[in-house]
């Protein structure tokens, strides 16, 4: 599939960022202050806001039943015009309307698949890191196995076993990134576990669950957030890749990756069919990466001026 960004690609500094005592609200504010000064990151944030805006108000911009999925076979593969801002696709559907509605699915797949991966991977990583020993060994070896199995096999397996729909697609994309989140979280937890404030919590009789979820997890969040932002980008690319091999979203629902992959045979005859979804994917991913990089810088104490 596409490039994967794993824990190993994060500088040690990010992991170290979490070692410095518990984060308070004010510290997040400080991160935001730092982020605000990073023009590239803010640029990314603005673009992402626009994308989110499009997703939220998609129905006001174009009606789903009468525009987005309505076929108009006499207007097939028309170039951009006043009527169709981005032209029409092979069924004469309005590409602009589909792009706007496509933001919903693409964002949802991106964000939710990462959320699933973080929840499962994060929990496994936290448990492994916190308890250590044999449990740690077992969990991490299983993660190694999942990491070694090609994501495409996992994706095809899930889609063919559970059926192709939005949820399974997200699951398919999530599964292959679970091990990398497990690694990141485990690394942070390892560094936190013997810190004084954890000892203190333990001393006052807090349960393991409470310690993990109230004290350790919030403090291990920083690297996860950074990786998550990049992960959303990877997930959007993976969706396009899965569509390319025929395992994308269920038609006629619009989704950028499926639009890009589906339009590839028209590349030379109707450039607009692939160009707009391609650009949308590129710009969104660019924005996510810029924001991710900005967050990483902002969270890294040693890079601060």
């Amino acid at each position: 599939m596409s490039q994967q960004i794993t824990a190993d690609t994060l500088p040690e500094a990010v992991l170290e960022a979490t070692r410095s005592a518990p984060k308070k609200r004010s510290q997040w504010l400080e991160v935001w202050q730092h982020l605000k000064r990073n023009k590239m990151a803010m640029f990314g944030l603005v673009i992402l806001s626009l994308v989110v805006f499009a997703a939220v108000f998609a129905d006001l911009i174009a009606d789903y039943e009468t525009v987005v999925i309505a076929q108009n076979l006499s207007d097939r593969l028309q170039g951009p015009s006043a009527q169709y801002w981005m032209g029409t696709d092979e069924f004469g559907r309005d590409i602009f309307a589909r792009m706007i509605h496509g933001t919903r699915v693409s964002l949802m797949v991106g964000v939710l698949s990462v959320a699933i991966a973080i929840m499962i991977g994060g929990t496994l990583g936290a448990v492994a890191g916190y308890y250590g020993g044999r449990l740690d060994n077992i969990i991490m070896r299983v993660m190694d196995i999942f990491l070694a199995v090609p994501s495409i096999l996992l994706a095809i397996a899930i889609v063919s076993a559970l059926g192709a729909n939005l949820i399974n697609l997200m699951l398919a994309i999530a599964v292959s990134s679970i091990p990398s989140y497990a690694r990141v979280v485990r690394a942070s937890v390892l560094s936190l576990r013997d810190q004084e404030f954890i000892e203190a919590a333990r001393a006052i009789g807090a349960s393991d669950t409470r310690i993990i979820f109230r004290h350790i997890v919030p403090n291990a969040l920083a690297p996860v957030i950074v990786q998550g932002a990049l992960g959303v980008a990877t997930a959007i690319l993976s969706t396009a890749g899965l569509s390319f091999i025929g395992l994308g979203i269920q038609p006629p629902e619009p989704e950028w990756g499926a639009m890009l992959a589906g339009g590839r045979q028209y590349l030379r005859h109707a450039w607009h069919v692939t160009t707009f979804p391609g650009l949308a994917i590129m710009i969104t991913i660019l924005a996510l990466n810029l924001l991710g990089d900005g967050l990483r810088d902002a969270l890294d104490p040693r890079l601060k001026h």
Partner: protein
Amino acid sequence: MKYSAKTAIAVALTALLAGCGGQEETAQVRDTLIVAQGADAKTLDPHATNDQPSARVAAQIYNQLLTIDADMNVIPDLAVSWESVDANTTVFKLRQGVKFHNGEELKASDVKFTLDRMIDSPTVAHIAGTIKTVDVIDDYTIKITTHQPFGPLLYHLTHTASSILSEKAVTEAGDNYGQQPVGTGPYKFADWAAGDSISLTVNGEYFDGVQEIPNVTFRNIIEGTNRTIALETGEVDVAYDIEPIDKDTVRNHENLQLLEGESLSINYFGFNTRKKPFGDVRVRQAIGYAVNSQDIIDAVVMGSGIPTNSSISTRVFGHSPEAYKYSQDYEKARQLMVEAGYADGFKTTIWTNDNPVRVQIAQVLQAQLRKINIDMAIEVVEWGAFLDGISRGEHDTYLFGWVTVTGDADYGLYPLYHSSAHGGAGNRSFYTDTKMDQMLDAARESVNVEERKALYSDIQIQLQKELPHYPIYVGIQNVGLKKDVKGFQLSPAGHHKLKGVDFES
């Protein structure tokens, strides 16, 4: 370090530029015909597979006892003549002096060995039909006996799976035979770079004249767009299955030409007649009136199809022009829906595999059926799960295709509509009708050509009334070639034979 980085860039650039220059040297000596198709052959053992990419290569290496000409007539190949002794028995006289690529002479024992092996192979046994025994009468005479009279026997013997193998070569190669095939055809197998290309060289002892072009290479170019590109850039001489959208590019290119012809394949929209509401013929007919095939053909395959009235192409023996042809009529469709008790429509699903053409067809069908209040969700299912699911009858409706490779109606109709073929054998609409079974059996067991034609006509008329499948269109196949490639003839089954192809000097 900076220095070395610079050097590295310089080296890389030089390499790139050198690569660009090196291109011009190729393409001079034309001793090889390069043919591109969309997938690599699986195996060149005709008894181990039944897929088209393999058959397209095997067609150059092997001969069958009989073959089909461009007008769909059965003509002699390795058998020079044949005679029906009785309804169950046919005697074939073999061509004499035919040599296999390994130097062995073709004998009746090879034919017996081949057909016996075919009957034993689960992959292709069903193509051998009801062959019971094969007897060697002398070195050049063979007798084939069937269990029951079998009308389409001669057509089945033209199938690539009925290619005649050398007993010695097969025995010697054992499990590796599929990668070192030996036949009697105009080209012999030379080399196979798995996943990339198969090279053939000319058979200097071919019984029907030695080919002009010394080598043929079959290249595997998966993406349709890229096959056209390779043709344009001159990397290949012939490209099979040009994408519909690229057809004009090839047609209008100064160095290229496009051959097109009606194929033996159809695409159909099938209904699971075991499930509600598709057990009701009125619902099926309503859908028949709601669909507009021409729109599908125009939108999805850019006109590369012909609306049809039958599950077999007009080129297939037994096709009936008399069967009813549906045309879009929403009034009739709605009325039938009301009669069936579905005035408000219903919800259903359509299964398709991830073949982009089928997924697109499903989308147009979905839009067309919405007009009569049928809310049809599209389930794109991965091929393995698809084949499994529709063979078990898990689907409501489905999109599928069929190629009547043998050119005889039996191959196209019996598996699709006979109740004994429910599920994986072909009848995935689970259509069950005693009268239909009787007619299909009678047509199969008749050896009288006129009687068979009449029976098949009745069958197709009946099927269009019952409509267990809505036949959407007959495919038009195409091949793109350089203008200087001469003598290429389309085979209706798609297994184009390169015999007689030459470069114009």
